[in-house]
């Protein structure tokens, strides 16, 4: 089990009106790993995440999570199988309080009628307060989420994913719009998550990537270009070429 891939993508291809955004993508992620996905614009990183969470259906290829073929499952069933997704543009519930946002994300029971007799401030919400503390939102629990700053909404969405407690967490540029301090704090959170959760993170900020990554996968033109540790990747010639040569990825 330990050696078997937790998530396996085989020859995944995605087409948007004739354009192959992802073209024969192969990806193996081990349980508990924190994988960073980098690459120049248009490399297909976000599309790869879209495929994994079911937002986009691949034209070809196969996707296996924990030994189960999830290629054909609709998005919400993939979520139930244990995949959580953070979007590039923070996505949360603007008119609800931070606490209620977390309450929605805490989704152990999913049915309409299972939830109808449950009233909001349940015993479980203690744990939700700890989550808010973890991402630095403990003072904002009763604030309407729509009034948070951009960096805080990023933190909120990370907290939502933690409340959802998925085995596999996909993050699309989690630090965009954050201050340096917030970015480093986020890196700390992600580092704490690895092991118990498996993470795939798309990022442009190389300082952040170096801070968190085990293995980096570089994508280019819808394919995996290189895979390895940060130092290997930075000295890899084809990666440098993909990023238009000059300074290599440290200036990306």
């Amino acid at each position: 089990m330990a050696d078997e891939a937790f998530l396996k993508l085989q020859d995944i291809a995605v087409e948007f009106g004739g354009f192959r955004a992802v073209n024969g993508l192969n990806l193996d992620v081990k349980r508990g790993e924190l994988r960073c996905l980098i690459g120049p614009n248009g490399a297909g990183k976000t599309t790869a995440l879209d495929v994994i969470c079911g937002k986009v259906k691949p034209k070809a290829g196969r996707m296996v999570l924990k030994g189960r073929d999830i290629t054909k499952l609709p998005d919400y069933k993939i979520a139930r199988a244990g995949v959580g997704r953070k979007f590039q543009v923070p996505s949360f519930f603007r008119e609800l309080t931070v606490r209620d946002n977390l309450e929605v994300a805490y989704c152990k029971r999913l049915g309409v009628f299972a939830n109808i007799a449950r009233f909001r401030r349940s015993a479980e919400s203690d744990g939700l307060e700890k989550l808010a503390e973890l991402v630095g939102l403990q003072d904002f629990l009763d604030h309407t989420a729509g009034y948070l700053s951009h960096g805080q909404t990023q933190a909120l969405e990370i907290a939502l994913l933690l409340a959802q407690d998925s085995d596999l967490i996909l993050m699309d540029e989690p630090t965009a719009g954050m201050t340096t301090a917030e970015t480093m704090h986020t890196a700390k959170i992600l580092n704490a998550l690895r092991g118990r959760h498996t993470l795939i993170v798309v990022e442009h900020d190389m300082a952040f990537v170096r801070e968190i990554s085990d293995v980096i996968t570089v994508m280019h033109q819808g394919k995996v270009l290189a895979e390895g540790h940060a130092t290997d990747i930075q000295s890899n010639q084809s990666v440098k070429d993909a990023y238009l040569g000059s300074g290599g990825i440290s200036h990306a």
């Binding site: 603007r94 939830n115 449950r118 009233f119 909001r120 904002f140 604030h143 009034y147 301090a181």
Partner: protein, 378 residues
Amino acid sequence: MNIDRNSLQRLAAYAIFCIAILSVPLFVSDAYLLNKFARYIIFGILSLALSLSWGYTGILNLGQAASFGLGSYCMAMALKLRTIPIQTGASGLPDFMVWNNVEKLPWFWEPFHSYTFAVFAGVAVPVALAYLIAWFVFRARVNGVYVAIITLAMLVVINLIIIDQQRFTGGFNGITDLTTLSVFGVDFDAYSPALYYLAAVTLTACLFLGLALMNSKTGLILQAIRDDETRVWYFGYDVAAYQTFIFCVSGGVAGFAGMLYTLVMEFASPTFLSVPISLSIVIWCAVGGRASLLGAALGAIVVTGVQGTLSETPAFLDTWSLIMGALFIIIVLFLPNGLVSLVDVFKGKRQSVATRLVKPVAESEAQRVAASQQNSVT
């Protein structure tokens, strides 16, 4: 603490409103007025039903009048069948069917000999229709303005069918000359306090049950769907199931309101499920506050009340619709969240909700940045 006080205040507001509407017959003895007030309250129930789907879940249903009208027809059919021996002799057919040369009572009229069935059907038929539409629309993840267009089209189709099938539905005239509903020895005459109480108790029940629903986790998830449907799908919730549920609940409540409306008006007519009524419901909801059950109900009562008063005042006979239009514009411009947001304006004389919330956020943001800078220095 704060939250508890807010929800207590809300409960108090609901309770005061319900006591107020329930005590109206103590002060009003004029049967004509009481009938008019009962009508306003039924519009309140109808508007509340829309706020469940529109204000709380973000589904703009422009076909709400279809549920209302179908409920109304179910009640009218049962009441019509009770008039048979008086109006048409022994042939056993309602008068309009005789005029249209119908020879046998259509099969779908038969069960309406029973009041129990009629009341059941008055809710079940709108729910079934809502379920059917929801199944097509929400499974396919249709949302936003497209839902509004589809429901509006559905309303027009049903309206046309009812007008077209004159032999079975009474066509343009609707179903008129009904008997008075009398159950458990109580006569629900259109001008009786009994009928007023029935409407007021129904509205009270809807308000509190609706409040309980929206405070449950299901209600929370519905509001989350309004704010960001995609996000809710990716938590693993079957959003379509939640949307279908509230769409059906809303349809059922509207159907029940329709039954009451037949009792108050003493007839059922295709105008009950017309586009103008459907659009009026949206206006009532918007004026009162669509994301508040009490607001939506109040909106309907205030708008129809003002409308009724203005249109019956000789001085405004020519201008009342202009005045109503101006009022709507003023409310939409200055109170985009409806009349209920007046509470926020008055409460605590605070400047605005926005400054109250943004200020502490900005302050502690600054503190946090300052703290982290200190950390990085040391």
